[in-house]
Point group: C2
Chain length 232, copies 2
């Protein structure tokens, strides 16, 4: 594949960043919202802590394994599409040559310029299939180690994120004090998370911070409101 | 972008399938695991229902908005990379021409054949930048409507998935009966979901079914065990 080391590195990093973002965004938000929601209806911090930890266990495992399977599915899908293209270059070489030419026609090149390009690409089956996968279908070859790495990153980030809103309920006896501290600590954590995420992905950092605070706030308000509404 | 309608349709469908899978996988698993975990420690179905519904509200909002922002981030990232390439074709045209040539060198074409191709592509700035985005950096232009569509699909699938394990706790008074029915109904639902997912993504359907059952089972067992362990 004709990519420079710089580009590869760029992709690798953004996939790990994305996994941390996926895990931590939900880890900070859902246990926070659940704990806040339950604080409106139960009377002991113990139930909030149990529900919160059960949620963190369930959420991190579900998201981590989900990420694992998603990466595996991407890879299986890539390999099965690749085999289909491989077959087509053997069974329908004329049609596949036309598809290569179509890609270059899309860039406004003349038929005279296109002919040698198609010839060069189709002269080697592996090169030909690589070209179709990448340029006709837009598939990048997924890294085989990605699934395991992705699962661990997502699950770990979820646990780390989830312990932030839950810590006050573990450390404090009085439910409403714990709720207040949890809301304050988590909103700060959500803001910092969104701020750093914004910087890493090249979006305005302040906007990133406010976005994650808004998501956490909305999710918690909905959970709180719903729990209150049911229990009254 | 030079893609055929067939290819567009193919991508559109697989992105929606992926969003349904993302939402429903977690929706079926996390509320199920949380409810099972709480059943080991609390004595009323009411608390399980409140915690479960609060989790569904929080989870669907967090995942839906998370999906929205992820799609927006992809698009912003695409647009900012595009602007950088645009600047580079003006400021470093020689280097950018070399990068176009490198792509074709990667396909084993001779310098004689490459020269007119580079000339044709670099003769129009938009075409040149399109080429660099797609062929050098491997970016597909993201659909602008994707963010909203993605958010609604993920959140809706989460809610639908989450109501399956929770329904028995709503409909039945006795906690352990509700737990038993919830486990049975949800394992069947997880299997069917994984089976259909397997068919849609071209993986063996039975393997798909067993995978989602394993994830749901593991997450629930962890949540149940953890909740039990804390409360004793």
């Amino acid at each position: 594949m004709p990519t420079t080391p710089h580009v590869e590195k760029h992709f690798e990093a953004s996939e790990t960043v994305r996994d941390v973002v996926i895990g931590m965004a939900d880890g900070l938000t859902v246990p926070f919202a659940l704990a806040a929601g339950l604080s409106g209806t139960v009377s002991q911090t113990e139930i909030v802590v149990i529900a919160g930890l059960a949620e963190i266990a369930a959420g991190s495992i579900a998201m981590g394994l989900g990420g694992y399977l998603a990466a595996r599915t991407d890879r299986d899908h890539y390999l099965s599409e690749r085999q289909r293209e491989m077959r087509e270059t053997v069974e329908l070489p004329g049609k596949e040559r036309e598809e290569v030419a179509d890609v270059f026609r899309g860039f406004g090149m003349s038929e005279v310029d296109i002919a040698p390009v198609v010839e060069a690409i189709a002269s080697d089956q592996k090169r030909w299939v690589d070209f179709m996968m990448r340029f006709e279908l837009g598939f990048e070859e997924p890294d085989p180690r990605r699934a395991r790495h992705s699962a661990a990153t997502i699950a770990g980030s979820y646990v780390l994120g989830g312990l932030v809103p839950l810590a006050p309920y573990v450390l404090m006896r009085e439910l409403y004090s714990a709720l207040t501290v949890s809301v304050a600590v988590t909103l700060v954590a959500l803001f910092l998370f969104g701020y750093v995420k914004g910087r890493l992905t090249g979006i305005a950092a302040w906007r990133g911070g406010l976005q994650t605070v808004a998501i956490g706030g909305l999710a918690s308000a909905a959970a709180f409101g719903l729990a209150r509404w049911i229990s009254h």
